[in-house]
């Protein structure tokens, strides 16, 4: 293989390339150079037929990588396989708009005609358009988007009054309790292109809730980690985390005001057995989980022998 020619293929494919004089000189140096370049450019365009377009995410922070081994989940597909998602398809006012709903604990993947993939977490309602594969609306819940980018016809997700527009992208949106959170793991998303027009590159997240509109950093590997049976957080409020858990596992979960205000950084492994899940996850967050009726309540403080000891110091 001609290393020099390959170098020029890569250089001239760069959108910012402008040293055409140097390229001319190289071509003139040997009549065989042009042929070698053409051959490799052909091989390059042939690659289009077999380059997989699925997303790749950078490894998460080192501490998480250490956790991933021993904590290996039985496979993200287990959640989907364990349950058969019931999908209600409701015909709305326009005949080409249809809605997809998952119950808490169910997941479902929607493949749109343009190659875009939308993965719905549990407790989620979305709308799509049969005639327009570039439209999606997240009415409630959480979904991860792996978008086939087309600059001329961007993919748009409507969330309440807001709109997110892709720019070559893998991202996750949560819309629950009047709040919206989005995390971008690859490419770029534009928030409300007609108004605020906030660009969110990979590794950035946006939250729009009672505290207002905020932009923050997020580990790209943490975005939509529910698909791998994990929930990854950096300084996240337990109020948000308990919603994520309820949606992912299909359990009714509440948190006391004190617990809701607490924050957590780390990885929580999802487990379909709620008792086993909370026995592991609650102490991790510095909380106690108590079964209450059909659901669970997250309380402050480590678990002791009985509830009467709650609120006492660690020495009690």
């Amino acid at each position: 293989m001609n290393e020099e020619a390959l170098g020029w293929v890569i250089r001239t494919r760069d959108p910012a390339f402008n040293d055409w004089e140097a390229f001319t000189l190289w071509l003139e140096a040997d009549p065989g150079h042009a042929a070698a370049y053409d051959g490799l450019m052909m091989a390059d365009s042939d690659m289009d037929s077999y380059i997989p377009v699925d997303p790749v995410v950078m490894p998460v922070a080192a501490n998480d990588a250490g956790v991933r081994g021993p904590w290996r989940w039985v496979g993200g597909g287990a959640v989907a396989a364990a349950l058969v998602a019931t999908v209600s398809i409701a015909v709305l006012n326009r005949s080409d708009i249809y809605s997809v709903t998952t119950r808490p604990g169910e997941t479902r993947t929607i493949a749109l005609d343009d190659g875009t993939k939308v993965e719905l977490n549990g407790g989620t309602t979305m709308r799509f358009d049969r005639k327009d594969a570039r439209f999606a609306a997240l009415d409630a819940g959480e979904a991860a988007f792996t978008v086939q980018h087309d600059a001329a016809n961007p993919f748009r997700v409507t969330v309440g009054d807001d709109m997110f527009e892709d720019a070559g992208t893998v991202f996750n949106i949560v819309h629950a309790g009047g709040a919206t959170r989005i995390g971008v793991s690859e490419g770029k998303v534009i928030y409300n292109p007609q108004a605020e027009a906030i660009a969110l590159p990979a590794g950035r997240a946006l939250a729009d809730d009672a505290q207002g509109l905020r932009v923050m950093d997020i580990a790209p590997g943490a975005v939509a980690s529910w698909r791998q049976g994990r929930l990854v957080y950096a300084n996240a409020a337990v109020a948000d985390i308990s919603q994520d858990i309820g949606r992912s596992l299909g359990v009714t979960l509440t948190a006391t005001p004190g617990a809701q205000a607490m924050r957590f950084t780390g990885t929580i492994r999802l487990d379909r057995d709620p008792a086993r899940f909370f026995a592991q996850a609650a102490p991790l967050m510095g909380l106690t989980a108590v079964r209450q009726g059909d659901g669970w309540v997250l309380k402050e403080g480590p678990h002791k022998e009985g509830p009467h000891k709650e609120g006492h110091g660690p020495q009690s």
């Binding site: 390959l6 293929v9 959108p15 055409w20 053409d38 450019m41 997989p52 790749v56 995410v57 490419g187």
Partner: protein, 170 residues
Amino acid sequence: MATGLSAIFMANRAALLRFVRARGAGEDAEDVLQDMWLKLEAKDLGPISDPLPYLYRMANNLMLDRYRSSSRRERREQDWAEGAGGVMADPSDDVAVDERMILNERLEQARAVLRDLGPRVELVFRRFRIEGVGQRVIAEELGVSLTTVEKDLQKAYRAMLALKQKIDTE
């Protein structure tokens, strides 16, 4: 359109001719430039921020098209000579099921090749080759040097081209 781009074309005609000639046009170099000129006149292009690199790229693409169509013609003539005969299948026909299986297999192979390169190399290659992001931008995004990105790309390209060679000889 006798505006900017045509003027830049005329001012740099000699350099472009030299490029097209070196690029393999030989005796046809003048014809290629004539083609380019007609295309520029026909298209109503808005203002272009970097006109000269734009013209070079256009010339380079024209040369690639020429190479592509000539090699396709050669292949067609060869198929014909080898006695393909009869009615030739329309290449735009739907891909047959077994071909689709082969394609899926190739995708799997490519996926494995990319995975073996490691996450950074794979990410760099994807950003560059699929999303068309420039090397300098990728280096900034990842917080690595431009040289690192260049090396990653060379590595990924070599691996992908080796895979292509393997597929072609199968």
